[in-house]
């Protein structure tokens, strides 16, 4: 069944044509003096709102300890299977030997990543964060697989106040009171 929509007939002023031209131009001139809403990307960059889900990165705590303990929960939860972790043991002589476990290698394939943020949500150590970088490019597939070094470079340091492992080490040094 077809519906016929009748066009509204033009009124007298519209039929005159010129007044409508003037009305349109007035809008144009008004906007010329206003602040533009567009940006000259990529020279100008937008401000990224808080909580934005950009490229996933690994962070260190204020003391420079890598926060990831390679529990592989992000690898498990990652919907497109972009994350690949090789777990490893932190050797006995290391400053962070009390943490025991850390990633030997940590790779995120940015060609697979869908920026869903599940990895950040699931991380029990708050080690993986989607920060505000949003634009990526490269000449090969390999270039777009972020390895551990790159991820820490992108991530930087996170100012957090937990120091869970430091407290644990202090408790061990303090002893059990026994």
């Amino acid at each position: 069944m077809s519906i016929v929509i009748k066009r509204k007939p033009l009124n007298f002023l519209e039929k005159l044509y010129l007044p409508e031209i003037a009305r349109g131009l007035s809008t144009t001139f008004k906007k010329i003096w206003e602040k533009p809403v567009t940006l000259e990307y990529p020279e100008q960059r937008p401000t990224i709102p808080e909580g934005y889900r950009g490229v996933p990165t690994l962070v260190k705590d204020p003391e420079g300890r890598e926060k990831c303990v390679s529990c592989q929960l992000c690898e498990f939860v990652c919907p497109p299977k972009a994350i690949r972790i090789t777990p490893g043991e932190i050797p006995e002589g290391s400053e962070y030997a009390h943490v025991e476990k850390g990633p030997q290698e940590f790779e995120i394939d940015m060609l697979r990543c869908i920026y869903c943020g599940m990895c950040q949500e699931v991380c029990p150590e708050e080690a993986i964060w989607l920060q505000n970088q949003f634009s990526l490019s490269g000449y090969s597939r390999e270039e777009l697989v972020n390895n551990k070094e790159k991820l820490y470079e992108l991530g930087g340091t996170l100012p957090d106040e937990h120091f869970k492992w430091k407290k644990k080490k202090e408790a061990a040094e303090h002893g059990s009171g026994h």
Partner: protein, 564 residues
Amino acid sequence: MEEKENLITVNIDGQDLQVPPGTNMVEAAAMLGKEIPHYCYHPKLTIAGNCRMCLVELGMPGRDRATGEPMVNEDGTPKIMWMPGPAIGCGTKAAPGMHIKTDSPKALESREAVTEFLLINHPLDCPICDQAGECTLQEFSSSHGRGYSRFIEQKNVKPKRTRLGPRVTLDDERCVLCSRCIRFCDEVAGDSVLGFTDRGSYSTLTCFPGKELANNYSLNTVDICPVGALTSTDFRFKMRVWFLKETNSIDFETSVGVNTVVSAREGTIYRVKPRRNDEVNDTWMPDSGRELYKQVESGDRLKKCAINSVEASATDAIAKASEWLQGGGVAIVGSGQCSVEEQFALRAISDGIGAKGVYLVARYGEDDGILMSVDRNPNVRGALMTGLVNDLPDEQLGELGAKIDSGEVTTVFSVKEDLVAGGLTEDQVGKVKIVYLGTHENATSSRADVLIAGLTQFEKSGTVINQQFRLQKFSRVVPGPGGAIEDLYALATIQANLSGESYPSTIGSIWKQVGTEGSVFEGISFQSLSDQGQLLDGSAFERLLFREGKSLHFEPKKEAVAAD
């Protein structure tokens, strides 16, 4: 089997259940599909009753104190006198008329209280703990835990990363003091080296001074540890358990045929664990069998077939082998490491070409009376039952050597066996043409004129027959290397080439021939064989002097006589 009249009727959460005498309440509830949470109770160990997690409400039919008459309710049913405090399920054996409640408010409250105490000093290690994902403390904390901690004092600090033995690492902070590992060492392994020191919440699991947990069953303590306190040094921090796909297999180390489950991720094997089979290995396995998976990726693995030491495709190698085996003067060296199906196909080959002799190489080791038998071949009985050989094999191929020296044998087809290790001299090996089907480099593979790269037990499916004449199946865990070919397929193709008729080359199809009427395997198929295995009639071989002594679930038919 228990006789019907011996059964005792108990009532669990309002459901009547008949159980054999001596059944404890954890097992009885399991028969109804109800789980009573527990840590220290293990079906194959004595009952310690120290974790208190399996608390249930317990009641017995009341009797009038004055008259001794059973008390009844108004409707005529027996009146149940409930005990004021809860009782542990594992230490409560079935008694006539016993009533228990596993999910009453009091039982649940008891579990919550026990869980809270257990978590007081437990570290928040789950992200780095290897047990996470298969940890009963983790599971019961989510079902019976509070979700937050009321504990404001300092947590106990105990030693972490302690070496208990060459294969076991202990994290004392995670220990819930269930004592399963101590009982295992005392009762099953017969090597008492573990114990608790200190008291109360300072109790610490440790080795006795000057001792270490080094026996060949030490890794079973890791399996039965309900938490992540005991960890396998080999598997530690390698892979999280939720990534692992588990496949049922058999330990190829000895003729005991220990049931195992092999865990792999994306074609890489990470660990081997025992699988419960009450007729064979209970829930245990030797440590040495857990190392076998390393052969899959070992450096000396044969990955390509070859003809005259020149790399060749598997098809060409098989064609060349078939050609040479037709030439006459062929002797066959089979193996107790092969599956029943492969031995069956090899027998067809030997019958077809009229082989000058079929030999097996025996491997004998020390008997430990638990799960390591004298016979270190997993499937010698398979070779007997398929008719590949009629007698027990010797450790040396002396007879074959003599036939080579006399010129009777000019070609040797060896499946999985190194002829030099089997006792032939370099000179004898040099005299004959060798067709070798194997998995790893050895003196025979380097001299073989035709080399067919085969698969290890983890890369194929099949069956083996253990010392009890129990037919057990193992399944493929990971795919084999690209250039290798499945042993059964290679043997079947050779047989097809030799006979000019088609021959079944897959497990499913060959069982149609193996299980034909009149054979000892009648009515069996690979698909229908249960994971617990099937006992076969081994009475035809009673005349043979098998060397195996007594082990966990095996009584030798005859006195084990040293044949030599």
